[in-house]
């Protein structure tokens, strides 16, 4: 295929349909499920937007594609908008899928007796998906809250999915942060168990002392200002999907997803969905305190934001104007 580049396509309205390319930081991850689900449910089409979903294994390069103008929007972690502001780039979240990270800190089965709280991380190997990722920052933050510094334990890059599972089974990591369906798989294989469940508000507050809005749809501020109509249509579609998730059972949602994305194991996927589906918001709205909490975490761990919390204007990192309208529309 000869793919037209997103930036050219966005301005071209073919037969009254807006064309939008969205880069998803892992189309198959359950935390980013609304993207594929909206497509499967046909809500984009209903709104008159022609959406192309691209995928990328790590969220970090997604921003690059966004800033370089290769795509119009990214489905990824909200915290990137803050980091980007520190780098002088304005990005904003327009639909917030979840106010919790959707991650869980897992403890390897062999270490279940020794690691019972953040304070027990001393001298252990803590797995993260990749250095400089949100999992890295969250780990640093919750251990620091328990008085354990990064010097006291080893951070190990363990990837996501099978490499993570294998590392945990083989003792390559003693604990580690990951998302579903890895969490559910680890539990089923009895290779690890949940220490902090940041798929729920309670667990997130326990680990981080507040919410941590993560999975979201964000765009460059310029684009949002210049294409309000299109953004509104996207917001409408996503909010409708969030409603759908709320109103339907895990099995019903799973049935809407392409078989491939479930990895051929329907029951595993459904049970993972079941434990994760609670994290999604119903209205796509950002929790303001949560945004502030994100800044707190980042200004602790991210080298660009360290000690610069004051210089960040949170109001420029997200907007609820579109979801507000979408709510009233539905």
């Amino acid at each position: 295929g000869c793919h037209t580049q997103g930036s050219d396509a966005s301005d071209a309205k073919a037969g009254g349909t807006d064309k939008v390319t969205i880069m998803v930081g892992g189309l198959d991850k359950i935390i980013y499920l609304p993207a594929q689900l909206t497509q499967s449910l046909g809500y984009f089409k209903d709104q008159g937007v022609d959406v192309k979903l691209l995928t990328q294994p790590s969220g970090a390069n997604a921003e690059n594609a966004l800033i370089a103008g290769q795509v119009e929007a990214v489905v990824g972690f909200y915290d990137h908008t803050q980091v980007m502001q520190a780098k002088g780039k304005c990005l904003e979240s327009v639909v917030q899928f979840a106010n919790v990270p959707g991650e869980a800190e897992m403890v390897a089965a062999q270490q279940a007796d020794t690691i019972k709280s953040a304070a027990d991380f001393k001298g252990k190997k803590a797995g993260v998906t990749s250095p400089g990722s949100s999992t890295d920052y969250l780990t640093q933050y919750f251990t620091a809250k328990a008085g354990v510094t990064t010097k006291d334990y080893t951070t190990v890059t363990a990837g996501a999915g099978q490499t993570f599972i294998s590392a945990m089974q083989k003792g390559g990591i003693d604990a580690g942060m990951t998302t579903d369906p890895t969490i559910t798989t680890l539990e089923q294989k009895k290779a690890g168990q949940v220490l902090f469940d940041m798929r729920t508000e309670a667990g997130t507050r326990k680990a981080l002392g507040g919410l941590y809005p993560a999975s979201s749809l964000y765009m460059s501020c310029d684009y949002v200002n210049q294409h309000k109509e299109t953004v509104q249509k996207l917001a409408n579609a996503f909010v409708k999907t969030l409603g759908y998730i709320h109103d339907h059972s895990a099995a019903e949602i799973a049935a809407k997803m392409p078989t491939d994305m479930k990895g051929g194991d329907d029951t595993l996927y459904t049970s993972a969905m079941n434990s994760s589906k609670g994290m999604f918001t119903t209205d796509g709205k950002m929790d303001g305190d949560g945004a502030a909490n994100v800044l707190k975490v980042l200004s602790f761990a991210n080298p660009d934001l360290k000690g610069k919390a004051d210089s960040i204007d949170l109001s420029k990192t997200y907007t609820t104007q579109f979801v507000d309208k979408a709510d009233s529309a539905s």
Partner: protein
């Protein structure tokens, strides 16, 4: 032709055919043994979650080829990857061959530039793939660029060395006979370097496929890389292997084409002794 000679020629043909049959049987046997051991091992000792199973992979392939994938028809995904790989292969080989041969004959330029080429060769391609997305966008171009860069280096280095290995007698003779620099390049250096270049092309198409797939990893809408990436994300080990098998089969087909080309280009060679010349 005298009858005894005709008989001898027929004998040779027969021997060739028998040899080919033998080779294919041995290959088949090898495949069967490997698949059998794999199936056995994953049934009794190894966790198929990590190692998958031939039967599971076969099932996956069956589904892909009958029902299609979540990204549309498998053929479409293959076509996308193939297009990227072929473009990268063609451009990468051509540029590699041309630059390699030219630098191989231009000593001063080669001496000045070669450390930089060595450096460029050591740049990890995954990082480059990320940069290419920024420079060339998410479309075809960035994947072709990744495939290009993977193909370019081995082809370049072999062409370069091949151009330097040319028999000096041949070059001298051609120069005396009135060949210009360009003609020496074209009539002496290129044919001499052919076996070097072909040796690198044997690996190059595999690299082009890898490049296309690495490119698709960095962001794509369709393609085998995407399917594999997705399989990885969903713990679908059978899907990973199924994707790899499709890729390797493509590579084999390309290799077969390349073999034909090689036989054509190197027809002037003395046949290898063991199979071909024995008693016509």
């Amino acid at each position: 032709m005298r009858p005894d000679i005709a008989a001898a020629v027929a004998r040779t043909r027969r021997r060739h055919r028998n040899h080919r049959i033998q080779v294919w049987l041995l290959r088949l046997a090898l495949v069967v043994v490997v698949l059998g051991l794999w199936q056995l091992a994953t049934t009794f000792w190894l966790d198929p979650f990590f190692y998958s199973q031939p039967t599971a992979i076969a099932k996956k392939l069956y589904v892909w080829f009958t029902d299609g994938t979540s990204k549309g028809s498998i053929w479409h995904n293959i076509a996308v990857t193939l297009e990227e790989a072929v473009l990268g292969f063609v451009t990468g080989s051509i540029v590699g061959i041309v630059l390699g041969i030219l630098l191989g004959r231009a000593r001063l330029v080669a001496e000045v530039i070669s450390p930089f080429i060595q450096m460029a060769n050591a740049v990890p391609r995954i990082i480059l793939a990320a940069l290419f997305v920024i420079w060339f966008g998410l479309g075809l171009e960035s994947k072709v660029a990744t495939a290009f860069i993977l193909v370019f280096f081995p082809v370049f280095f072999n062409s370069f060395q091949g151009a330097r290995e040319v028999d000096r007698n041949l070059v001298n003779n051609a120069r005396i006979l009135g060949a210009s620099r360009v003609q020496v390049l074209w009539s002496i250096v290129v044919p001499s370097a052919t076996s070097w270049i072909l040796a690198s092309l044997h690996t190059a198409f595999g690299f082009a496929l890898i490049g296309a797939i690495v490119g698709e990893y960095t962001g794509a809408e369709f393609g085998m890389g995407l399917l594999i990436n997705q399989a990885q994300g969903t713990f679908d080990t059978a899907g990973i292997f199924a994707g790899m098998i499709i890729i390797t089969v493509i590579a084999l087909l390309a290799e077969a084409l390349l073999g034909l080309l090689e036989r054509k280009l190197l027809r002037w060679r003395p046949p290898s002794p063991s199979v071909d010349t024995a008693a016509v």
